[in-house]
């Protein structure tokens, strides 16, 4: 389709979905908008990062019905009626998610640009499997690129958050071997 005509055929569409626990109604300005575009341009949530815009790095990961999804690869309208969670939704009610705590304490980041996507993937992992092994953690975040190479910090942070429930008793020391 010619670049001049793209706008004419695309009509804004109204849509409702749950975002970070709240039901919202919003307008998708163009058919080609991805979920990331909707979050960024319409809902002004800037926490979800876009590093490649082509499904290759995991930075833009959000949860759609509790499943990690690359928001740069999902058309916005497919979120209709779904439950979407972004990094902004992790710390609702004023307290940080254990993963956020441990990424701070264990320094699971350098520049932090890959962090929001990794937090979302790790949340799903820990929800399903509160005490994952090293290999399970690595497999879970294998699709999230971190160019700073903060991988050992990422691994330790997720392991520490996973064991935080029993931290008192076990005095878990995660920083041993990769």
């Amino acid at each position: 389709m010619d670049a001049e005509n793209r706008l004419r055929v695309s009509r804004p569409k109204l849509m409702s979905f749950r975002l970070n626990g709240r039901l919202i109604s919003t307008q998708i300005e163009e058919d080609r908008w991805t979920l990331w575009d909707l979050l960024r341009w319409k809902l002004h949530l800037t926490g979800t990062k876009n590093a490649c815009d082509r499904g290759e790095c995991g930075a833009c990961t959000v949860l759609v019905d509790q499943i990690p999804i690359l928001s740069c690869m999902m058309l916005a309208r497919r979120a209709r009626g779904k439950e979407v969670m972004t990094v902004e939704g992790l710390s609702q009610g004023g307290s940080l998610h254990p993963l956020q705590e441990s990424f701070m304490q264990q320094v699971g980041l350098q520049c932090g640009f890959c962090t929001p996507g990794i937090l979302m993937v790790a949340k799903v992992l820990l929800d399903k499997n509160p005490h994952p092994t090293r290999d399970e953690v690595k497999r879970a975040v294998a699709g999230n690129l971190c160019r700073c190479g903060a991988y050992s910090g990422i691994l330790n942070s997720i392991l520490a958050a996973g064991s935080s429930g029993r931290r008192e008793s076990a005095k878990h020391e995660p920083a041993e071997g990769f």
Binding site: E4, A51, K138, A142, L155
Partner: protein
Amino acid sequence: MASPLTVVRPAEESMTKFTAIGRNLPKVDGLHLVTGQAKFTADYEFDDLLFCKILRSPLPHANIVNIDASRVRKHARVKGILTNRDPGSSAIWEPPDVRLLDNKVRCVGDEVAAVAATDPFSAADALELFRVEYQDLPRVFTPEQALSLGAPEVRAGGNLVGGKPLTGGRGDVIRGFEEAEVIVEGNYSFHGPNNTVAAAAMEPKAALAKWEGDELTVWLSTSTIFKVREQLARFFGLELSKVRIISNYVGGSFGSKGEDAGRYLPITAQLAKTTGAPVLTVLTREEESMRTRHPTSTYVKIGAKRDGTLTAIYCRELLNKGPYEGKIGLMIAAKIARPVCQLYRCPNVSYEAYSVYTNSCFIGVAFRGFGTPQPTLAVSSALDELAKKLGIPTPDLMRKVHAKAGDPMSEPGFDHGPILNGEAYDECIDAGASRMGATSLGRGQGMSLFIHGCTEPVIHASAKIVVDPKGTIGLHAGITDQGAGQKTTQAQIAAEVLGLPLESIEVFAGDSNLPTAVASVSSQVTWVQGRVTYAAAVDAKNRLLEAAGKLLGVRGSDLQLDGRGWIRARAAQGGKMTIRDVAEGTSTPIVGSASIMLGGEKGTPFSAVAKENGACFTEVYVDRDTGGIEIEKIVFAQHVGRAINPRIVQQQIEGGVMQALGHTLTEQLVMESSTGRCLNPNLRDYRILTILDVPEIEVVMVEKPDPAGAFGVIGTSEGQMSPVAPAIVNAIQDAIGVRLFSIPITPAKIFDVLGNSK
């Protein structure tokens, strides 16, 4: 990886005297980063914000005969257009011959035109509406071709950057080779001549420009805010004070976001000027892949006595520059001096480097390691070969030939040869060798030393510590933090001096309206900026005690800070008060400040410098049937002076090792030589390493305080880029008996050499 923190510390040293230094404190900006509140450049919003996209050349070398923008102009959402026909594009950006938008394109991806539209999609659409007529020109892609007689001219003034090779050395290499009893030589290629590696920071480069009258503010993903300010002020003919650069959060840089980051920045500012609205440009991943490390070919020849004493080193390097950034290209080429003149003790050395303009789509710019990895690959590989010829284990030869404290550190820019403050090569070699142990069956081991930066040749650094009337302490300095933890480590230095917990220091950084700080390049923030932060904190502390003394009616020198926010008399009796009481009670604000100027015409000359130094050891397994290679273990031992925050230092080193490992094994941007375009400008076919690729990495931080660094610190963030590749090349040689002369090392390459050697 993720081995327990290994810090090797001089026996007499006790860390108990420190409260903030040497501790794994959480980063000061961690909360904002884990909650998504941290504002990167692309996160700023304005109601009238316009989005810029850049039309780029499909051809490697061509004249632009005509640009028809009439259809673009009709697009309802396009608010601004910039082509080479517009007056705003005609000023020279890169002397002598490159205008902001030129009449000529010199590589695929070169800037041709730009639009600003009310949304990013419309801006991208509008690019399709341009009609550009090109007249093809002969193109040249390799330095060899570009230097040959009658080669097409890429830039006015010739293809050799600077008009002559960059040369240097000492002694008499011809005599040195005559004296030699053993000679080794070889030609090594770092992704040359045409392919290369990318910084590939996760945050794409971005700029948001906004004018108010004749004042320009730019939010920018950068590591050099003061240099960029100067650059833009010069380009737009403004006073420095009229330009402000803000860079609060940067999603990785690795050197790629400096003043050589590209013309997208002035284009954004120019469009903001013509449209009168704020304009944001965010580069695509494809655009992000255009500015890279220089691919090189390096010839090296080394002569030695039978006992391993070096008699001569000669090194010649050809760097493929692409068509732009010649000035920084020369600075990068100059780093050939590091492995040749600085890293090893040899009386006769000589080097020549040729930085060459070509029509390659890869424009060589600053990148972590800054020109040192390429010659280090050659020199360290050749020395390993020398050791084999001499029958001396490589670590033993290294112990004999490495530089020592007090040796001259000459290189272009530091021609007078400041001496090396200190090094810990022996400690690093010992730490590495003992941790590697004997080679396991069927494996091979290799190693390489390294040396790197810690300061630019000209430095202006300043910092302020402000005690506000509420008693909170602000550290003010225009540093940027692109993930290396600069904000946190500077705050730890201030906290230590003031005897306060880290949380009580608020860091104001990333803004050119703050005191001028060093650029976050050359791994110099801790070593150089740390000194002024330290001095400013001492100044603030003295002023605080002075003011408290006045209030308490005693001498300031009779008071001390107790580490918990109280000021107390040294003697048992005498008053006490909180910092807050003092701040509230005094009439004048308490501000500590410090600044230094080193090098250049105005600054104090460098007499001594710190350098990143250390050793990388690796063990590899090579599958002789498939050519597959496994990295079994890496021990990276680095002299860190003093680890201000050991976990942050360890992460810097691990991260550097991972990037260098990618460059050595899996990463390569490929230029198609028939068209001059990049075939894989993305993150899928350009394979950076994932968490599944992390081998066993043991980091050893050797503490041996540097006399000039605050608390003994030296920089640590770049050295890793140089020794990993040669350590692996040497390990493969050890494993299969064949030396590889080029990276990346792919299974196919190993398969080939194994086939040939049978």
